[in-house]
Assembly symmetry: C2
Homo-oligomer: 188 residues x 2
């Protein structure tokens, strides 16, 4: 699974075939089928790992005793750092198109993104009740905008051939984002 993630990170989803994977691992293709009943199962196992890793990271941040503004920043930071370290994660999470014909994988990606979105929505709800964020925010909408911004950032990053630092740019964007959603009169 690690080697598969590496292939995707380096050469994209299309490059992940049972042949290239077996070559990279150093076994024959048949050996792979001792551990995964199909290529789809392999991909779904990887996605499940990403699911666990991402959600545990987010829920850890979520449980902290911090302002919601700080939580949000930390989540964005973590996520972009993850993408920087292992671009395959972004490749997989942003590849609905690729798995259009594969129902199970599509559903899995959907539930991952959905779960993340709900976590973030919760932060916006709390921050709104808190008085940290403006009262006219729609938590659901703003959480989707937040994720959309991250996605757009990652897309630009990929299309630029990873020429600039993703987490650093993320920070800049986060401040722009905060600028428009934060309640200025808020005092801790």
């Amino acid at each position: 699974m690690q080697e598969a993630v590496e292939i995707i990170s380096e050469k994209g989803l299309n490059a992940l075939t049972m042949s290239t994977l077996s070559a990279k691992v150093g076994v024959t293709e048949g050996a792979l089928y001792r551990h995964f009943s199909s290529k789809n199962e392999l991909i779904m196992d990887i996605l499940n790992d990403i699911f666990l890793e991402t959600t545990s990271q987010i829920s850890e941040v979520n449980s902290r005793k911090q302002p919601n503004v700080a939580k949000l920043q930390k989540i964005m930071e973590n996520q972009l750092f993850l993408f920087k370290q292992r671009p395959a994660i972004a490749n997989l999470l942003f590849a609905e198109e690729y798995f259009l014909t594969n129902h199970d994988i599509k559903i899995l990606i959907y539930s991952i993104i959905n779960t993340i979105q709900l976590y973030i929505q919760e932060i916006f709800e709390n921050g709104k009740n808190n008085g940290e964020f403006k009262q006219n925010l729609n938590p659901r909408h703003i959480s989707l905008m937040f994720l959309g911004t991250i996605r757009m950032l990652v897309m630009n990053w990929k299309l630029s051939d990873y020429q600039w630092d993703l987490p650093a740019q993320g920070k800049v964007f986060y401040h722009s984002f905060l600028e428009i959603i934060e309640e200025k009169n808020f005092n801790q």
Copy 2:
């Protein structure tokens, strides 16, 4: 090219092969090569059409004598309507992952998205100078957020199997978006 777009709309990018296309058009595969030297050329020709169509639509809106708030709404409306009518356009524009290994196509997609982004950035700049939008907006950042929101919306729509109306939801989102960027004291 029309038939190709239809295949992508109905069954996704993976379903577009020279074989399926020739069957749909009603000719042999060889005949396709009388008109397109390669599959990549076919895709790039389609992308170029989308480029022209989209940018001409946007620049038409841009040239109107309207508040920038209205321009922005019209552009979002047009774009989502386009995606609704021909989902292939969204499939193609949001498939960087798919074309990761194909440099020319990647560049083309990049330049399309970039051009659109710049158009929108201009609207934000004008609206800011105008007093329509808040003065603390970063036009570049906010335009990417705007596009990211559209993209997220389309992604959710696709993952939901097109079960809800994209332009209608877009309208709702646009109002949420406006809520946070609009200068409330602005009078035409």
